[in-house]
Symmetry: C2
Subunit: 600 residues, 2 copies
């Protein structure tokens, strides 16, 4: 941009913000809403709504403001860097404050009106995180006969918490999600216990098949507070990320109860607290936290199909999450049911291990090559180049969050068109081998599939060539039944098998609530994940945000947390702030609590 | 600066660099040396000299170039950011390359000639660290029946190294120094084993007195590669830094042999390797590394005075490094011999623990208040403000390194004058209580004392007020002998004692070589630490660099590493590059190998 153009863009944003500030200050919801275009989206992360909520168009925006403006009292809207304009859209990074907190966000203007607005709470006033200039001193200067050292304090806390004192929050599940949230809560001073059935932090990665590496690149995977170092591999091997999580849990001083099983939980409405029974070191302990977070993983509750004959099959059979890797299957016949990420990874590892492998494709799969996905799909936000261009992980997270789910696919479709063209030969080879491909119902590709249904794709790191080349045999169709030593397809094809792996995905996370709390509560909160896109496995009506994730549910004081490392990192902040506010007795009127349309 | 002034400063530096480049390229040592002022210093860290070496004035500079220019072939001298000028000195950040490596440095010009030049090797060509854009991929795409997972490779390496394969480097001592160097060598791909007698990384901190916190602030303490997070305390409690070191060792994938004792080492001249015998799990293992690094700590080899009657004293007596903390001494009489850091910390902790405490001051001590030291002495380089001003830890390290030892005290004296003035009341109270103060022989204060002798000071975090107020009793003079239950001073004063702590400091690190290798080798390499300032405990002649630290010694293939966290971090790079070059068979002609003037 020329200086003049930059000046006029800055003026446009300043004028809009000034009008917005004035309308908000005057309590003029209608006037504020008029500053938004007919097609417009305001996505709020906690700052106005105490919810994760996207409202669409002036009418919904007005309604949201009518319900929130009185107590939110937003003010101090200003840009934090010079705005930019391209293709008729002006983009600005902004900050603001409310009665109880400070936030920042992102604004897109079209024809002088707001097209998208993201507002996100960063911190609660009076409860800022003790970092940077506010970091703790570590030593208390002077002489004090009652001095307690850091180690004594940590040990006392570990002895007392859950026994003579009660945590404010219990997080069930100590994978990346529970750990990231636990770290946020520790920094916010919210007493928390993380309950994890495995022996060590990171075991939920370590215990998976041995060839597993993260499919997302390092820039996408950072945890809060401590970034992976510059030499960390692009794709973390599972045991390496396991070690990192273990290290992180220790140095972040989390109260992490490993080898502990959550057995039951019920909400004591009268006391306003949960009664959570956990088994630790062979003994039952009852915890009474104010808030309960289920962070057992969206890829945690295996979906194992009921196949006739499974009881007569004499070989090994297990869900992909239980698959130990190829070592014991050299020279054996393996049938892998499924054709998504785990299926491909496991087929390739079994082939490398010397097994005779058949993949059973039951429905079409979306495939993208890893290199292509990194270059075309992710590099603008999460890459070495992005970091060099000043797009920090934190900024990338906010840019991603600024795209409303309703129109996100429009940003995605051109990228996947480009990928399809770039790798045309590759796709042709796959189709020639009989592999059934798709690109999502609207051609929007992998991220939308992930957000809508959390499944239906494979990021190719090499298995596709085995399928295309016939090294891994491909069998399409439905499985009919198992015999003593074979998988029999609906068309009668018999696949001899010493091993059957069910790479058949996972169920909705409210299944965890059914197991731990009750079916009644699971049904009350309803389906978790997806946002009502009315595509496969994500039925309508439109909901606009991920169902039940990181925000209040229909069950008081029950929360779901999880997702990939990016989501665990970014959304743990908003969940932590919601929990902190409740711990501090700050009023948290929820606007637009989601309704439940599906129980699973 | 105005634009015009900035332009003229930039021109001055460019012209100097152009003349310098031309003279160097022409092999004109004399002409190059003429570009330096009569008072001038060229400090080279490995890039020209394969040594840490400061040459002073045109004659020494010419001599150095005559010996190094032919094989170094330096070129590509350029600034990396706009130079600045103040008080008649122009400062520039520069980069350059040599035949085998790339480096950067810092230049100060006075009256058109070089006053100080720092040249530091950053990396060896063809052996760059795999970081950032060169980071490893982590997964090998494609299908490969011989694939070895990250975990399998790590396990194989751990099983083989030191048994069926030999490390290139053995580091004896797994404290902060050994760990930082081990991390550098891992990133440079140099097979290394760290031998540590304690059970866990970090134990050398954990096992010290319980109230200990680092006296240096967090910005000064970062390790290479992974920085402390933003919420890390300013002064790390000892157990917390212990945990950090333990986790760092794990995620940096160091081959760390804990619970292992180095028993003996001898250099096999013929084979060109060390024969190092270590005891691990009760069995002797012989290691044959090409290079041996002693990193057992400059505060590692206790100096315990021989006091008549020590054998008849019936109470507890131990060196400060063995002091367990105050818990068992409540109500007891404690005498702490010494008046430096450990003495003060231990006195304060004993007093807090309810002991009756007397400090024995044998000679004057330099005292600075921690807050004052941070504000006046460190904040320009290592502080939250420095970071905000763009002085990263890496940049601060280089600025510090750019000050030649010969004139460093001149930069320090005004700071300590300021401190003395700021805390005049405090010092008056201390002197009134009979405490004997000093500021170093030339008034240059704490850092110079540390660099010259590694002792003689206390950074006050509270103990001084106990001494000033008489809560901790002060006794001046020399200890004459011990009785069954008392310390008797030279003047006859008897100090009843249940506990005597010898906070009497440490001996020169070549004592480690005497213990492990032989007295002959210890004498051959001579005194370690100090630079010949001709002040107490640092006798002349002038040597210009820290004796034997991080650079070649008179014993082939023997190296000393250590110092505080700042030095462990920064100088581990140059030591690692020297070791890497030798591992790769790169020619490393050492210029100006230090002579030995003192054996201890």
């Amino acid at each position: 941009m020329t200086d003049t153009a930059a000046h006029s863009v800055a003026t446009e944003v300043e004028q809009w913000l000034a009008r917005f500030e004035q309308a908000l200050t005057e309590g003029d919801s209608a006037g504020s809403a008029e500053l938004f275009g007919d097609e417009s989206f305001w996505r709020d992360l906690v700052s106005f709504t105490w919810n994760l909520k996207t409202v669409e168009g002036p009418d919904e925006i007005r309604d949201m403001l009518e319900h929130t403006l009185g107590h939110t009292r937003p003010r101090g809207w200003r840009t934090t860097e010079p705005p930019a304009a391209a293709d008729g859209v002006t983009e600005a990074w902004i900050e603001f404050e409310t009665e109880v907190g400070r936030g920042h966000g992102h604004l897109r203007l079209k024809d002088g009106k707001a097209w998208t607005l993201l507002t996100a709470l960063d911190e609660l006033k009076g409860h800022e995180q003790p970092a940077g200039p506010m970091r703790p001193k570590g030593i208390e200067h002077g002489a004090n006969p009652d001095r307690e050292t850091w180690l004594e304090r940590r040990r006392r806390e570990a002895e007392e918490l859950g026994h003579t004192t009660q945590p404010e929050v219990v997080i069930v599940g100590g994978g990346q999600g529970g750990i990231a949230l636990g770290a946020r809560l520790r920094q916010l001073g919210v007493p928390t216990i993380i309950v994890e059935r495995n022996e060590r932090p990171g075991d939920s990665w370590r215990k998976r098949y041995k060839s597993l590496c993260l499919h997302d690149p390092v820039w996408y995977d950072h945890l809060p507070y401590i970034k992976f170092p510059e030499h960390w591999p692009v794709f973390s091997p599972k045991d390496k990320i396991g070690d990192w999580l273990e290290m992180y849990t220790r140095v972040m001083e989390l109260n992490y109860w490993s080898s502990t099983t959550a057995k039951s939980a019920r909400y004591d409405q009268q006391a306003g607290e949960w009664v959570v029974v956990v088994e630790r070191d062979g003994a039952d302990i009852t915890l009474r936290p104010g808030q309960l977070v289920l962070a057992m993983g969206m890829s945690g509750k295996p979906n194992v199909p009921e196949i006739p004959g499974a009881d007569v099959f004499t070989g090994d059979q297990h869900h992909s999450s239980q698959h130990p890797g190829p070592d014991r299957y050299s020279g054996k016949k393996a049938v892998v049911v499924g054709s998504n990420n785990s299926a491909h990874d496991i087929c390739a590892a079994l082939w490398e291990g010397g097994a005779d492998v058949t993949m059973v494709q039951r429905s079409s799969t979306h495939i993208v090559r890893s290199d292509t996905l990194m270059d075309v799909g992710l590099s603008a936000l999460y890459s070495e180049q992005a970091v060099a261009d000043g797009v920090t992980t934190e900024k990338a997270d906010m840019i991603f969050a600024s795209l409303p789910y309703r129109i996100m696919h429009e940003f995605q479709i051109p990228l996947y068109d480009e990928m399809r063209e770039r790798d045309a030969d590759f796709y042709e080879r796959l189709e020639k081998a009989g592999f059934e491909l798709d690109w999502g119902e609207d051609g929007s590709g992998l991220f939308m599939k992930y957000l809508r249904r959390g499944s239906g794709y494979y990021i190719d790191v090499g298995a596709c060539e085995l399928v295309a080349g016939g090294d891994v045999k491909l069998q399409s169709g439905a499985v009919d039944h198992l015999t003593e030593d074979a998988v029999v397809m609906a068309d009668g094809t018999e696949l001899p098998a010493d091993l059957v792996v069910y790479a058949t995905g996972y169920n909705s996370m409210n299944g965890w609530a059914a197991d731990l709390i009750s079916q009644e509560v699971a049904d009350k909160v309803g389906k978790v994940w997806g946002h009502g896109s009315d595509t496969a496995k994500d039925p309508g009506p439109w909901e606009g945000e991920q169902r039940n994730m990181w925000k209040p549910t229909q069950q008081q004081a029950l929360w779901f947390h999880g997702g990939n490392l990016h989501q665990s990192r970014h959304y743990s902040l908003y969940l932590a702030l919601q929990l902190k506010a409740r711990a501090e007795g700050i009023d948290t009127p929820v606007y637009g609590l989601q309704e439940v349309h599906h129980v699973s």
